[in-house]
């Protein structure tokens, strides 16, 4: 293996600097993950008036060598939290509860619109834009992952707004 040339080193540093500059890209990298498994970019839309259910989305990174799985979700913000997966095969929107969500070793699983989500029912209060609330995932290995969910606007279509809403 050859030692990297100075040019290669500088271009690597330039890339890293550029990535840091573009917040939305660095936000997707698990830069702050000191645990084996970290969840980040937790978001939900504000609940429409009268809505009984809400979907929670996030990304979860498994930096370890062993596969794991999410087996349960919970939050004090709702009475019930179920793991769900939406599918849109042949344009039919369907969602089913799943018993667990596999987390492959050195892998990243994203919960997002039209895919995996945690469905909350029995909300203690409507989710309001700007709110932040704690969320817990229980894993098959016995680990618990705690992180925050950021409530974005009603027409949010992705977590990007988290980085654009400082102090909320």
């Amino acid at each position: 293996m050859t030692f990297p040339s100075r040019g290669a080193c500088v271009s690597f540093l330039a890339t890293a600097w550029a990535m840091a500059m573009f917040g939305s890209i660095s936000a997707y990298a698990a830069a702050e993950c000191s645990e084996t498994i970290c969840a980040e970019q937790g978001w939900a839309r504000a609940t429409p008036g009268g809505a009984q259910a809400a979907a929670i989305y996030f990304a979860i990174v498994n930096q370890g060598d062993a596969a794991d799985a999410i087996v349960k979700a919970s939050t004090t913000a709702a009475a019930s939290a179920m793991l769900h997966r939406s599918t849109t095969a042949q344009s039919v929107a369907q969602m089913d509860m799943v018993a667990n969500v596999p987390l492959p070793a050195h892998g990243r699983v994203t919960f997002g619109p039209l895919g995996y989500h945690v469905m909350l029912t029995g909300l203690k209060a409507p989710l309001k834009e700007g709110a932040v609330f704690p969320f817990t995932l229980d894993l098959a290995s016995g680990r618990h992952v705690n992180f925050d969910i950021h409530v974005l606007g009603m027409t949010a279509t992705g977590p990007g707004a988290i980085s654009r809403a400082p102090g909320r």
Binding site: I25, L114, T121
Partner: protein
């Protein structure tokens, strides 16, 4: 190996990263398996037809009430946590993006869950997606009705829907409704133009709408 000047190399790297970031952010979704954004085909040309339903203010509406405007028709239900809010959010963002042309469109939400979706339920639900000043995009129209009326509307749009139990809470069974998730664009004569598949992003829908709608008078 020839060494590029440092500035040129850094610029290329930065541009590549910027381009990748711009493409990534365009979709604004973490992981896209993307279905066809918009589709028109001969088998879908029969989409559309008469309906008589009740709107969120309790008024009876028929499809004829909407002649003269484009309709964006989506079948969903308020208990749906993911696909329905997502689709309404995408519609709202797309209508926002097309500016004054949005005045030629009526976004319509037809419930496939008339048991739970009363007019009042639809009213508070859809009000949350309605524009706040200074936005001028149109308000959503929510429609519900009897089981038969909803079945008839769904049949006209070739929309499949079926309830299935998702669990038990407090002794009551909870159900979700599987349903065709397309958004149908109908012209001012009530004729089918195109449908947008689930997974379409606002920019894609806005671009297609701009093409279909002539500039506002």
């Amino acid at each position: 190996m020839k060494r590029l000047p440092l500035i040129a190399l850094t610029s290329v790297v930065l541009l590549a990263v910027a381009a990748a970031g711009a493409v990534w952010r365009l979709g604004d979704r973490p992981s896209p398996p993307q279905s066809e954004a918009a589709a028109e085909d001969s088998s879908a040309s029969d989409v559309g037809g008469p309906f008589t339903l009740t709107d969120q203010n309790g008024m009876r509406r028929t499809d004829k009430d909407f002649r003269g405007k484009f309709m964006l028709v989506f079948f969903g239900y308020t208990y749906c946590p993911d696909i329905c809010p997502t689709s309404l959010a995408v519609e709202a963002e797309a209508l926002e993006a097309i500016g004054s042309r949005a005045g030629r469109v009526v976004p319509i939400f037809i419930s496939v869950d008339p048991q739970r979706d009363t007019p009042d339920k639809l009213k508070s639900y859809l009000a949350s997606f309605d524009p706040k000043p200074p936005s001028t995009r149109p308000n959503f129209v929510g429609l519900t009705g009897s089981d038969e009326e909803i079945a008839q509307a769904a049949k006209a749009y070739q929309v499949y829907y079926k309830a299935h139990i998702t669990g038990l809470m407090g002794g009551n069974s909870e159900y979700a409704v599987d349903h065709t998730g397309n958004i149908y664009l109908m012209d001012p004569e009530g004729k089918f133009v195109v449908y947008y598949s689930p997974g379409i992003v606002p920019d894609e829908m806005a671009a297609d709408l701009m093409m279909r709608l002539s500039p506002a008078d």
